[in-house]
C-alpha cells in the first residue's frame, strides 16, 4: 500500500479555500512567519477517504478478532458505553464549569467512587490518576506523605517487589525516590516467604504486589505476607492490573492491602489498544485518606461538589478531575452488570482455565496449578528440540487470524507465552484458538520452517525489530523522493535557484 505522500500530485486539492484578498494581515513577527508552504500531500478528498479507509482495514482490534494479550485485559467494549458517553450533557461538558452546572457528571463520579470502594474493600478513593502507572506513582507518594506525617520517611527507604512484577512497578519505585528490594518467586509461583522475611524491617516502606500475579496465580500466602509487612510498620500496595480475576470474589482491602489502583480501562471496559486513554483511580485505607490528591468528589445531601479543602493532600496529580470519558464508560459497564459483576470474573477465570487445560500438553506449564484470569505457558521445549521460539509461535498465530499473546513476560519464565482470554469470548472462539495453538505445535515438529518464517498471510511479513529500534524512520523521506515533493519544496527549490 502506498503512503499518502506517494499519492500526491502537483496542484491537486481536496477543498477550495477562499483567497486572502481583502483580509487584514495579522501582525505576526517576521521570524515566526513561514517562508514556504508546509510539506502537505496534494490529493483530492475521495482519495484521502479511500486511503485512510484502506489503512483502517489493516488494523486488528477486539472488534475484528480474538485478542488474548496477557496482562492487558482486552475485553469487548459494549456499544452502549459509547452511546452514553456521547450524550451531550457528558460530551459537551466544559471542565471549567462550576459544580452546580455539572451535578450529573459529579453524581456519576461519586457513584463510581462508591462502587470502587465496594470492589476494593477500602475506605476512600481518588479518581484522578490517568492510568495504572500514574496510580502506582500516586500511591507511592501517599507512602511518603504517610511516613512523613509519622516522622518515619527518612528511615523507610525500601520497597519490596517480586520478580514477577510488571515493569512499571520498579520504575514507579525509582521515580518516587525509593530503593528497590527484589524478592523471589517460589516453586508454586507464590512470593518466596522465606526470602521475604529477611528483607522486611524498620527500613521498609512497603510492598508492591499484583495478586493474582503476572503468572496468573493467586498468592496462597497473602495473609501471612500482609502480617509480615504490617508487623514491621510498612504498607501494602496492590497493583490492580489483574483485578478482572477477583471482582466480587475477594477484595484487596480484605487481603490486607492499604492502597490499590484500579485499571478502569482493563477491568471495566474502555477501548485501550495502542496505549489509551486509561483511568487509574486509587482506593486507600482510612489511615491514608487525608493525603489523597485533590479534588475528591463529595456529597452534601442531594448535591455534589469537588472538595479541594484537604490540608494534608499531596496536591493535584492530573488536570481537572480525571479522565471523564473513561469514568462514564466504566460506570455504564458496572451498572450493566449490577450485582452480577462477580460473574464477569468467574467467566474470565473459567475461560482461562479452559484454554490452559487444552494447551498444557502441547506447551510447557511452568507452575502446575489452576490459573486465575490468565496463564503463562513456555515454548522452551519447542525451542530446545525444534528451534521454534515463543516469537515464532506468536507470529504464526497471526496467520491463523488471532492476535498473539504477550511474549517473553514475565521474565521468570523462559520463552513465555502469556494468555488472557477475558470473559468476552464464546466457547467456539476459544476452541478455534486452541486448534491454532495445537496446529502450530505440530508444525514446529513437522515443518518448523513454516513457523520460523511466519507470518505468511499478513500485509507485512516478519519485521526487522532490531533495525527498527536502531534506525527508526519516523517521517516520509522527501529527500529520497524528489518526484513526490509538495508545493513547498518546489517553491524552496525555485528560491534556491533564484
Amino acid at each position: 500500500m502506498k503512503l499518502i505522500y506517494e499519492k500526491s500530485q502537483p496542484g491537486r486539492r481536496g477543498i477550495g479555500v477562499p483567497g486572502t484578498e481583502g483580509l487584514e494581515v495579522p501582525d505576526v513577527p517576521a521570524e515566526l512567519r513561514r517562508e514556504t508552504p508546509p510539506r502537505l500531500p496534494e490529493i483530492a478528498e475521495p482519495e484521502v477517504l479511500r486511503h485512510f479507509t484502506e489503512l483502517s482495514t489493516r488494523n486488528f482490534g477486539i472488534d475484528t478478532g480474538f485478542y488474548p494479550l496477557g496482562s492487558c485485559t482486552m475485553k469487548y467494549n459494549p456499544r452502549v458505553n459509547e452511546r452514553l458517553v456521547g450524550l451531550p450533557g457528558f460530551a459537551q461538558l466544559h471542565p471549567l464549569v462550576e459544580d452546580d452546572a455539572a451535578q450529573g457528571a459529579l453524581e456519576l463520579e461519586w457513584h463510581l467512587q462508591q462502587i470502587l470502594l465496594e470492589v476494593t474493600g477500602l475506605d476512600a478513593v481518588s479518581l484522578q490518576p490517568a492510568a495504572g502507572s500514574q496510580g502506582e506513582l500516586t500511591g507511592l507518594m501517599l507512602f511518603h506523605a504517610y511516613f512523613r506525617d509519622r516522622g518515619e520517611d527518612d528511615q523507610r527507604r525500601k520497597v519490596v517487589i517480586p520478580d514477577t512484577a510488571h515493569g512499571t512497578n520498579p520504575a514507579s519505585v525509582t521515580m518516587a525516590g525509593y530503593e528497590l528490594t527484589p524478592v523471589k518467586t517460589d516453586a508454586r509461583g507464590n512470593i518466596d516467604v522465606e526470602d521475604l522475611r529477611g528483607k522486611v524491617d524498620e527500613h521498609t516502606a512497603g510492598l508492591m504486589l499484583t495478586n493474582p500475579s503476572t503468572l496468573g496465580l493467586f498468592d496462597e500466602n497473602i495473609e501471612q505476607i500482609g502480617r509480615i509487612f504490617h508487623d514491621a510498620g510498612a504498607l501494602m500496595y496492590y497493583d490492580g492490573a489483574n483485578l478482572n480475576a477477583v471482582c466480587g470474589i475477594s477484595r484487596p482491602g480484605d487481603m490486607g492491602f492499604d492502597v490499590v489502583h484500579i485499571n478502569l480501562h482493563k477491568t471495566f471496559s474502555q477501548p485501550h489498544g495502542g496505549g489509551g486513554p486509561g483511568g487509574g483511580p486509587i482506593a486507600v485505607r482510612d489511615i491514608l485518606e487525608p493525603f489523597l490528591p485533590v479534588p475528591i468528589v463529595a456529597r452534601d445531601g442531594a448535591t455534589f461538589r469537588l472538595d479541594y479543602d484537604r490540608p494534608k493532600s499531596i496536591g493535584k496529580v492530573r488536570a481537572f478531575s480525571g479522565p471523564f470519558g473513561v469514568f462514564v464508560r466504566s460506570y455504564a459497564f458496572m451498572r450493566s452488570y449490577g450485582p452480577g459483576l462477580r460473574e464477569m470474573s468467574e467467566v474470565a477465570v473459567l475461560n482461562a482455565n479452559y484454554l490452559l487445560a487444552k494447551l498444557k500438553g502441547a506447551y510447557e506449564l511452568p507452575y502446575e496449578r489452576l490459573c486465575m484470569h490468565e496463564f503463562v505457558l513456555s515454548a522452551r521445549g519447542l525451542k530446545r528440540e525444534h528451534g521454534v521460539s515463543a516469537l515464532d509461535v506468536a507470529k504464526r498465530l497471526m496467520d491463523y487470524g488471532f492476535h498473539p499473546p504477550t511474549i517473553y513476560f514475565p521474565l521468570v519464565v523462559p520463552e513465555a507465552l502469556m494468555i488472557e482470554p477475558t470473559e468476552s469470548e464464546a466457547r467456539e472462539t476459544l476452541d478455534a484458538f486452541c486448534e491454532a495453538m495445537l496446529a502450530i505445535a505440530r508444525e514446529a515438529v513437522d515443518e518448523p520452517e513454516v513457523v520460523h518464517s511466519a507470518p505468511h498471510s499478513r500485509p507485512v511479513r516478519r519485521l526487522d525489530e532490531v533495525r527498527a529500534a536502531k534506525n527508526p524512520v519516523l517521517r516520509f523521506r522527501f529527500e529520497d523522493h524528489p518526484e513526490e515533493q509538495g508545493a513547498g519544496d518546489r517553491q524552496l527549490e525555485a528560491q534556491k535557484g533564484a
Binding site: G167, Y408, F409, V466
Partner: protein, 131 residues
C-alpha cells in the same frame, strides 16, 4: 554474527549471568553468553560514568534489546576506570563477542575479598542447568 555458546574457565561468575576477569586490583566486567542469548541482539547500552562507584549485587547500568531492558548487576565493588565505548556505539558487539570485544566496564576493586563470593565455572554451570 552471534557468538556460539561458551563459558571461559578463567573467569569468575555471578548468578545474574555476569562475569568478572580479575587482574591485580582491577577487574573487567561483562555479561555471559547465556545473558546475551536470552536478551537477543542488543540495541542500547546505558553505561555508568567513569569515576562513579559500583556496588556488588547492585545495578551499574542497563542493556536493552527489542525483548527487554535488563539491569547490569555488578559482581564486585569498586570505582569505574573505563567504559567500553565500542559497545556504547555498537551494542551488538556483546552478542558477537561477550567475553572479548564486548566487555562492559573496567573497575578498580574496593573490596578484593569479594571475589571469594563469586562462582567458579563449575558452580555457574549448575546455575545454568536450572535456568
Amino acid at each position: 554474527m552471534p557468538a556460539s555458546e561458551s563459558y571461559p574457565d578463567d573467569l569468575l561468575y555471578h548468578p545474574e549471568h555476569d562475569w568478572a576477569r580479575i587482574e591485580g586490583d582491577e577487574a573487567t566486567l561483562g555479561v555471559t553468553w547465556f545473558a546475551q542469548d536470552a536478551l537477543g541482539e542488543l540495541v542500547h547500552y546505558e553505561a555508568p560514568d567513569v569515576g562513579s562507584t559500583v556496588t556488588r549485587g547492585s545495578s551499574y547500568g542497563e542493556v536493552e534489546s527489542v525483548k527487554a531492558v535488563s539491569d547490569l548487576i555488578s559482581p564486585l565493588s569498586g570505582e569505574v576506570l573505563e567504559v567500553n565505548e565500542k559497545v556504547v556505539d555498537a551494542p551488538e558487539t556483546v552478542n558477537e563477542d561477550p567475553y572479548g570485544e564486548g566487555w562492559l566496564i573496567r573497575i578498580r576493586l574496593s573490596s578484593p575479598d569479594e571475589r571469594e563470593q563469586l562462582l567458579s565455572l563449575d558452580d555457574y554451570r549448575k546455575v545454568l542447568a536450572e535456568a
